[in-house]
Amino acid sequence: MALWMPQDPMLQMVFMFGIGAIIFSLLLLILVFLLRVRVLIRQRRQRFYEAQWQPLLAECVFAVPAQLPQVSRNMRYHFLRVWNFHHESLVGASRANLKALARAMHLEEIARELMYTGNLRERMIAVMTLGHLGDRTQWHELRALVSDPSPVLSLLAARALLDIDASSILAWLVTVMAARDDWPMSRVVTMLKEVGPEVATQPLISAVEATASSKGAEAQVARLLRMMEVAHTERVLPVAGKIVRQVKSPELIAAALRLVQDPRDLDIVRAYAAHEAWFVRVSAIRVLGRIGDVSDRRLLTGMLSDPQWWVRYRAARALLALPGTRIEDLEKISGTLEDRFAADILGQAIAEARSS
């Protein structure tokens, strides 16, 4: 039977295009169906193995299990996922048991292989595993991965290095953390918190001191100042006082003010309360709320009339936080205020304080 075809050659071409689209659709339909079958088989296999692995990994809460889980070659990625999941969920001796189990199973060898041969998700889990196992053999490779353009992979490599030996890598790593603005600050700070202030403080202080005076490095300094919030307060205080006097950019002043805790720096803080940038005024007022004294009441009352809502709001909150201040005192002040905006904002702050 001959195929029905238009006579016109142009129409013939379009007709074949349409037939091609229908055939392609059918192939796609089959592909979708096959993909679903593959997913179902994979899920079933995963459930089967995980049912065997879970009790053994759960045993690690108490001791290293005598029997090792069986992991076939095509289930290696899934086992590493489950193992890392447990590692992140457990603490103390349980983690040590989990590591012992991993060593007995030679997981570091699997991770090393996946780090070189795997796709992105396999490399990610491999890097995470090597970090958790403290595997030093891949130190240089992990260090090179920190420069990888993928923020996910490079961050995992940085964390692995910190897991392996934080004290020897942190001095270099904080400079990378300051430079890579594609690394979310929340992740960076989490890593530094895990390392702890004992290890993190000095490298951070050194990096800030080295960078603060460099031209064109404002963004890095701002990131470093934010990171310093995880460092030891008493060691940060002198640096914060110095930086807050040294820097000129409003963004950096605001960032540095967040670290100020020393009453000896109050004079410069009070001066910044009159800064032209509103966010610097907000930061200065917040410091006054933290470490200011009764003598700041007049300054703060005056700032209730600031044109910026946030400055007024923070001044009202700071007034409430000053030592020896009672809500009744502020209600009295509120009654004397002629500026309606000042009275409104103080009224809001008083209501918030009463309801909290």
Binding site: P6, Q7, D8, M10, L11, V14, F15, F17, G18, I19, G20, A21, I22, F24, S25, L28, L29, L31, V32, F33, L35, R36, V39, L40, R81, N84, F85, E88, S89, N119, L120, R121, M124, I125, M128, S150, P151, V152, D181, D182, P184, M185, S186, R187, V188, V189, T190, K193, E194, R226, W309, Y313, F341, D344, I345, G347, Q348, A351, S355, S356
Partner: protein
Amino acid sequence: MTVNDWVEGAQWFFMLYFIGINTGYLMLNLLSLGSLKRYVEAHSLDDIPSRLSGFELPVSVLVPAYNEQVTIASSVRSILQLDYPEFEVIVINDGSRDGTMEALRREFGLEPFPEAYWQRLSVKPVRAIYRSKMHPTLRVIDKENGGKADALNAGINASRYPLFCSVDADSVLERVSMRRVVQPFLENPHTIASGGSIRIANGCTFDSGFLTSKGLPRNPLALFQVVEYMRAFLFGRLGWSPLNAVLIISGAFGVFRKEVVVKAGGYRTDTVGEDMELVVRLHRLHRTGNIPYRIVFVPDPVCWTEAPQKLLVLKNQRMRWQRGLIESLTLNIGLLFHRRGGTAGWLAFPFMVLFEWLGPLVEVAGYCFMITAFFTGLVSLEAFVTFMLVAFGLGLVLSINSLLLEEISFHIYQKPHQIVVLLLVVVLENFGYRQLNSVWRFWALLLWMFHFKLHWGEMPRSASWQTGPGGPHKGVGQ
């Protein structure tokens, strides 16, 4: 030129337009395929527990509500349980005529709060501001009716945090939704807006405002919309994201950098497509002002919404969307082929004008012309069959492709019978449903051209997903 020449010219114009529009969408498909694969791989370890730093950006969740007495309490309760370190919820009662305000008072123990309201964006008068005694992070603004855009602007005025998230009062959010959608802001300081993928709630079951199982609706209209949403979000938006040319972020769930939106003037109150208009305007202002920025789409299914199950309601919704799209484009026409327009001005905008704005006109005209011309003998059987073959064949490729994207990424619908139903639906939607949509959109285009005001009617909510804590599991609109 003879009549036959005109007819032949028109026949080829429509045929080539159909090939062009579908090829354009297929290109978007290819772009989405790459982005989706990278996204899924990069987020493959997201379920491994991680600690919080306290440095996550805090978010103000804005919930505009007009006559939402049935759904509002459940929606707010589900938002309050979001898995996110720091956020506030601001419900804006936009002059509701039903018991929305009473429901909020009763459920959340509201008390008047003397807030020094900061009117940065001009809005209709605010009657009062309330704060919840039970949830200190919940505030309610009671204001005169001014529409959704006005309500959102009032919410922006009252918000305290650097990011705000607009959420529809009838939507249900995934617990992790906020983390997912805020992530682009953490990864790139130039991100100014980020939108999440919306899926159909009909057929799913919910408990206490949270999704407990994902299912397909029995209503055929809702079923077609399941596939339609997959297509719209998995390649309609994802494809544009790596090019920084996403022109639509759904009003049902989108996160924005507040200062940028305030600087741009907030939401426009004179358009029905305030969500799309804002995004296109942000593109225009940033591109023409040479300011670096990113507008991102996150493909994770993060928000579930109830789909219309009645033809009239669906028609009204689609006509409103089409009107919103046209208004968003006309109000920001300066972006089109602007010398600094970039991918948004030179690719996405013309694409929208050609295929989304004028598309329904050409599609409906194409079908009408070919059918009329065939029955009057002006077009041969061969040409008619070829046209239909191309139109349906390419439509079919696109429909199945969206299912393919779903299969390689999230495969939300897990049961084997669900995939069979979906496969059937992607084929069937090409025989009537898509054409019907084109007719509605064409009608909306005509009304816009002749400056007709549209009467939208209201979207009736079944709200059957509302169950109290520990209450029975229920499904939506099955």
